[in-house]
């Protein structure tokens, strides 16, 4: 919640430690507040992430992505319930887009996740993308670390409904599940969108509708023809499902477990997969911090205001302006 974390370093550390203790006890309100601190990037949030970091890294992160309305939330809810039945503690992060015009957002994924009420082993948090364009928000991974510190061992991340985009979810998760529907068209259209390469597992949802088996055939053929096979020989399975009726969910989980076993089966492979992802994440973190620090307290905005009219009038080159502005 939005109470400012303006305090001395000592106080910040104290508050972070208190929050970490309550997290470790699985207190729901503390988990929620911790995610807010991290999402708002407050000093307490940052201190908290440092504190819990040694305790993270063991949870399994499953990303669920796909076009708008394909049934991601329905599927996530069904999978979460099955995992709960199997005794897992499940955390869900569901991202919906922030309006670029108003900065507001309507986060509606929760409508499909009703059984999160009253079950201490099931936690659902909606997050707004807040300006990120990769299908997740800047703090999604950090929020998943909070969930992990609170004892959730499976973390499901539902992205914004995307058609074509750079999908950051790959860097945040161990396994990416791409949800398609019969209406997604033939595999060529899916290939064009460029999201096919990121999937570790395809789900053709709404298989109760016309055209599912054709898409399934096309996908399998497309995979044979091309080498989307992951290094080390993982061929993404294609699983039909009717999420609305909870059909196909056991098979999806079985395939996800297989993928996990495949990753874990070869320590070198898992280490490499995670190291490559970590490296990308570190670069993202570094970029973000560089950008913030460059803008903060600098005269760049004022200078831009001052020169914009001349750039617009083509009296000043925009490229030269940037060079000059940053070389000061």
């Amino acid at each position: 919640m939005a109470t400012r974390d303006e305090a001395t370093a000592g106080e910040i550390g104290l508050r972070a430690r208190e929050l970490a203790d309550r997290l470790a006890r699985g207190e729901r309100r503390a988990i929620a507040q911790a995610i807010s601190r991290v999402e708002d990037d407050t000093p307490v949030g940052r201190a908290l992430l440092d504190l819990v970091f040694p305790r993270t890294g063991g949870a399994y992160r499953l990303g669920v992505t796909g076009p708008p309305g394909s049934g991601k939330s329905t599927l996530v809810h069904g999978l979460a319930r099955r995992l709960r039945d199997g005794g897992r503690r499940v955390g869900v992060l569901a991202i919906d887009p922030t309006s670029p015009f108003t900065g507001g957002a309507i986060l509606g994924d929760r409508v499909r996740m009703t059984s999160a009420a009253g079950d201490e082993g099931f936690f659902v948090r909606s997050m707004a993308s807040r300006g990120s364009t990769g299908g997740v928000s800047a703090a999604t991974y950090e929020a998943s670390e909070i969930l992990e510190a609170a004892g959730f061992d499976w973390i499901l991340i539902e992205t914004v409904g995307v058609g074509q985009a750079e999908l950051e979810v790959v860097e945040l998760t161990d396994c990416v599940l791409l949800v398609l529907v019969p209406e997604s068209g033939d595999a060529v259209q899916v290939m064009k969108a460029g999201i096919m390469e990121i999937a570790d597992l395809f789900v053709i949802n709404k298989f109760d509708r016309e055209g599912g088996d054709r898409l399934q055939r096309d996908l399998m053929l497309a995979m044979e023809l091309s080498d989307w096979r992951r290094p080390g020989g993982w061929t993404p399975p294609v699983v039909p499902a009717v999420a609305l009726r909870e059909e196909g969910l056991d098979e999806i989980l079985a395939r996800a477990e297989e993928h996990r076993a495949w990753l874990l089966g070869d320590r070198e492979r898992l280490r490499e997969a995670r190291a490559a992802k970590l490296r990308k994440r570190m670069e993202v973190l570094l970029n973000r911090t560089l950008i913030e620090r460059t803008w903060r307290g600098s005269a760049l905005r004022a200078r831009l205001d001052q020169d914009l009219a001349r750039i617009a009038a083509h009296e000043l080159s925009p490229y030269q302006w940037v060079e000059d502005a940053l070389s000061l």
Partner: protein
């Protein structure tokens, strides 16, 4: 990073449609709030547990069924029980003036009757949030 005002829009009970709630949700989004929308037919227990997970600042409830004198006190009691009484409850719907007065005395922040321009609720939330930050 800038703090966002988070609002949960919920509609308890079994009465029909959620058009009103959607209008309110849209107005809040356009005001720059992050709005968590939970859909129809929520029990007070479900609403409070969701509000806690979402760490909202404001819980906005619309009640058309006439059950407001049981629903609002129940929500307030549950929030208290869960140590989340900082979550500020506001409401809308068909609520007689005298009932509204009683509910506000019990801790509901504000009640907006039918036909109230959504801008009023937006202004109320902004004021409340600004007041809490300095307070």
């Amino acid at each position: 990073m800038e703090e966002k005002i988070r609002v949960m829009v919920a509609k308890p009970g079994l009465d029909g449609h959620d058009r009103g709630a959607k209008v309110v949700a849209t107005a809040f989004r356009d005001a720059g709030f992050e709005v968590i929308y939970t859909g129809l037919h929520q029990t007070p227990e479900m609403i409070v547990d969701a509000a806690i997970q979402e760490d909202v600042d404001i819980l906005s409830i619309s009640v058309l069924s006439g059950a407001h004198m049981t629903i609002f006190p129940r929500l307030l009691a549950l929030l208290k029980e869960r140590g989340a009484e900082e979550i500020h409850v506001i409401g809308g719907g068909i609520i007689p003036r005298e009932d509204a007065r009683q509910l506000i005395a019990q801790g509901v922040g504000a009640i907006f009757g039918p036909g109230t321009p959504t801008g009023e609720a937006v202004a109320y939330i902004r004021d409340w949030h600004a007041g809490r930050k300095t307070g």
